[in-house]
């Protein structure tokens, strides 16, 4: 037969890599479009009289709403297949990960299905952003004691 190392080399030779350049470019393009869209709606909200310090909260909420709707309609994953990090990195990816879990687990009930499993994908993001926020806060606190 074949030993572990020589087989792993064989697997490496035969396994095609992700198309890095194409994926990076489409992530840049789709991510850019989402950000541009965010800027446009921010300006619309400003025109509608939303206070400038509140406007980005409104933009975030709007993007979350649109992503949630698109996930529910089954369109998001088809776009994300091409957009990759372009839809994953902005708040759109976070919204999709929560809503897709909710839809997926609805059949198992609202408490043990949706309730228990809604953050299975987003959970690590929430946990580690809280932890890093806490650490950042500590650093900031101690720095301000001396500066």
């Amino acid at each position: 037969m074949e030993n572990s190392e020589s087989y792993k080399r064989r697997v490496k030779v035969h396994s095609p890599h992700s198309k890095l350049l194409k994926n990076t470019l489409s992530a840049f393009l789709f991510g850019g479009i989402i950000c541009l869209f965010g800027e446009i709606i921010a300006n619309i909200y400003l025109l509608l009289g939303v206070k400038s310090e509140d406007v980005y909260i409104w933009v975030t909420i709007t993007l979350i709403l649109i992503s949630a709707l698109m996930t529910g309609l089954g369109v998001f994953d088809k776009i994300a297949r091409h957009a990759g990090a372009g839809t994953l990195v902005p708040v759109t990816g976070f919204a999709n990960s929560v809503v897709s879990c909710a839809i997926d687990n609805k059949a198992e009930g609202y408490v043990l299905g949706v309730g228990a499993k809604i953050f299975t994908v987003a959970g690590p993001v929430i946990l580690f952003s809280l932890i890093s926020g806490f650490i950042y806060g500590l650093i900031y606190y101690f720095l301000t004691l001396f500066i």
Binding site: M1, V11, S15, T71, G74, R81, S100
Partner: protein, 336 residues
């Protein structure tokens, strides 16, 4: 070592059927399926129940094709990809046939045919039985990967779990397709930890079984050597190893080799990456494409090795290697 059983009295495949979903209908075998549901739900409310319903429909069609009733079957062996094989038991219990559940991951189609052949051969109590195998893309995605609507890019080595089921009715009465020998495979370490590269993890198991079987059989007597779901990556690894290690025999086997995962879909236009997978993949390809060709005489003798990647979300999460297994059966045409 693996033991090859050559049957003095063959077991006959009396009837077979294939049921599939949307992507399967869009593939090159789409019009060869007995039943397609483009909604993938088969009238059910959840993906898990849809898989069970697929099994039920597949067996029903196979029974109807030969004008048989469930009472004509002495034993039912079935398996799927869901935890505790609930699709098979849930979908098939209403037939009231004694039942054995099987789990061989994607190797279940061959495993079922092998087990059923052995039972029919070993005991006069069993004169006719059925083997049913299913997998459902959405049920498998939910269990092994991410939510259905989750937006992510898949790696080029990943494979698409087929939404498909196949049912086969085997008996001792003479008909035009027969099973003449079988060989269970060994569980082989695939050395791969990445569950997006299962073709590579299973290629060694396929190689192990092929090397064992063809150490005492002449591959040139075969028209086709069909693996289950190695996909494009696993197939090219297998063919390279055969040519390197088994010399002239290996080159013959390699030239006769096809993979069900590469036959079920149009890889380029359906965005299927490395090809199809799942228990339903080899079952539906065998039923829709291969057995009709054996029946018509185009293939006189074929070897079928469905390949199973043995792992769970737990074992992959804990960094274990994915293990592979590849049972083998030989199917021949019978001159009636």
């Amino acid at each position: 070592m693996q033991k090859i059983t050559y049957l003095d009295k063959p077991v006959y495949i009396e009837s077979f059927s294939a049921v599939g979903g949307l992507e399967e209908s869009r593939g090159p075998l789409g019009d060869k399926f007995d039943l397609i549901d483009e909604k993938d739900l088969f009238g059910m409310k959840t993906w898990e129940r849809a898989e069970g319903e697929m099994s039920r429909l597949a067996l029903n069609i196979a029974l109807n094709k030969n004008k048989l009733s469930p009472d004509d079957l002495d034993i039912l062996v079935a398996g799927d990809l869901q935890n505790q094989c609930v699709a098979s038991s849930g979908g098939l219990f209403t037939f009231g046939i004694p039942f054995l559940g099987l789990y061989g991951a994607c190797s279940t189609c061959t495993e079922g045919l092998l087990v059923l052949t052995a039972m029919l051969t070993a005991s006069k109590n069993y004169s006719r039985g059925a083997s049913v195998t299913s997998s459902h893309n959405c049920a498998a995605e939910r269990q092994f990967r991410t939510p259905i609507e989750y937006g992510a890019q898949r790696t080029p080595t990943s494979q698409w779990t087929a939404t498909a089921a196949g049912a086969f009715i085997l008996g001792k009465e003479k008909s035009d397709i027969k099973i003449t020998s079988f060989m269970p495979g060994r569980v082989i370490d695939g050395y791969v930890k990445d569950q997006s590269n299962m073709g590579s993890a299973m290629a060694l198991a396929a190689y192990d079984s092929i090397a064992a079987y063809f150490s005492e059989n002449d591959p040139s007597r075969f028209d086709l050597i069909l693996t289950g779901d190695l996909g494009s990556v696993g197939s090219s690894i297998l063919e390279e190893m055969l040519c390197e290690k088994l010399g002239e025999n290996g080159r013959t086997i390699s030239s006769l080799h096809k993979d069900a995962g590469l036959l079920l879909y149009d890889l380029k236009n359906q965005d299927m990456h490395a090809g199809g997978s799942g228990c339903g993949c080899s079952a539906s390809v065998l039923s829709s494409l291969i057995l009709p060709k054996v029946k018509s005489g185009e293939y006189k003798r074929i070897a079928l090795l469905s390949t199973g990647a043995l792992m769970s979300t737990g074992s992959v999460g804990q960094g274990d290697h994915i293990l592979g297994v590849a049972p083998l059966i030989v199917i021949e045409g019978e001159d009636l």
